[in-house]
Symmetry: C2
Subunit: 215 residues, 2 copies
């Protein structure tokens, strides 16, 4: 069934049928709208116009579906990985600000919040399988982009740090602070919706004060 599959599969990348992608899309929508309780197998089947039997054939069981949802969402959010070869102080700052804004946008996204809530709720029992998956697929990705940027800054003599991980931790903390937790706890981001720019800029300025070499 694999040989002829070229007709039925959406792309060789992930081994997902279009049908299955639709299912995962609808499942994510249900999760975003109503939380984990709303994510029932019957509900997903109804929303995606498929049968529960197919669900179990494709994803094994409910946990398999959850894992597939995380992997699916991660595969959609591909962070552009640009590490420019020519850097001056201004362009480094601009790149850092862009990164910080992207980080805030991603973390405040509906689907990201819903998946994080799901994984956190599941973390107590079962060895936190979903938590590891989310960490691996999500944070690693965005962490690599920041790492490359920081490394480029150091190569250009614009940044000074010994431990890249520590520097990245400082940048992340200055940008995010406790925003992520507050959003996860249900605080409406309402008013602060577009403080993203201002917040990103002051965080980056603080970061450059700590790790910049100009002066």
């Amino acid at each position: 069934m694999r040989g002829i599959g070229a007709i039925k599969e959406t792309g060789g990348e992930s081994g997902l049928t279009e049908r299955q992608a639709v299912v995962l899309e609808q499942a994510l929508r249900l999760l975003v709208d109503g939380g984990e309780k709303a994510l029932t197998t019957a509900g997903v089947a109804r929303a995606a116009n498929c049968s529960k039997e197919s669900l179990y054939k494709w994803f094994g069981d409910r946990d398999g579906l959850l894992s597939a949802m995380i992997a699916f969402q991660a595969s959609k959010v591909r962070t552009l990985e640009v590490s420019p070869e020519t850097l001056d102080a201004a362009s480094l700052r601009a790149h850092l600000v862009a990164f910080a804004k992207d980080l805030l946008e991603v973390l405040a996204g509906d689907v990201s919040l819903a998946l994080n809530r799901l994984a956190i709720g599941q973390a107590s029992r079962e060895g936190s399988k979903l938590g590891h998956l989310l960490q691996e697929r999500g944070r690693r990705q965005i962490g690599r982009r920041a790492g490359a940027l920081l490394e480029a800054g150091r190569k250009a003599g614009l940044l000074a740090f010994t431990d890249a991980e520590e520097a990245y931790g400082a940048l992340y903390g200055l940008v995010v602070s406790d925003w992520h937790l507050r959003l996860l706890l249900g605080e409406a981001l309402g008013d602060m919706k577009k403080d993203f720019s201002r917040r990103a800029e002051s965080a980056v300025d603080a970061f450059l004060t700590l790790y910049g070499t100009k002066g």
Copy 2:
């Protein structure tokens, strides 16, 4: 029933019977051990040697029990609120480091993690009642301590900031970074168990670089 209650109540503060305190204690233990799924009304009743009927009489319904658990735990963790009147650079740094270590200890605590997971899991539906409660009872408390400390530092001419909230956000971010989220997602804190001191110190040093006036 209130007049004679002095015999039966544990303290006039919270209006909780000893019996009810035992129930909440056992409920917290169940939550820490097995997550929200393990926190069933029957399980709590069995663990606390009381009847389900009493549970519902005392707490209304399951959500009432959850709220009571959060309030109960918050009432136990009373943060010492010291804002010394005499401050020099060294003692300010020591106070900040102590605060940072306490913050890390609290956030990494079993019960804190379990309650945060519970509130986050509940945050999707129902207007995030538990999230607000946790925010109000937990963060407000520790935020006030930090606020007093920062204000004292400014009064003594050791710190310079215009927006206290922003300064506190920077301190929090530098200290915590993404540790809290990683712990919530189930990452074992295993090896990093006692990096608390080192981490607190470097975070405070960075904070003082940003907001200190010495130099």
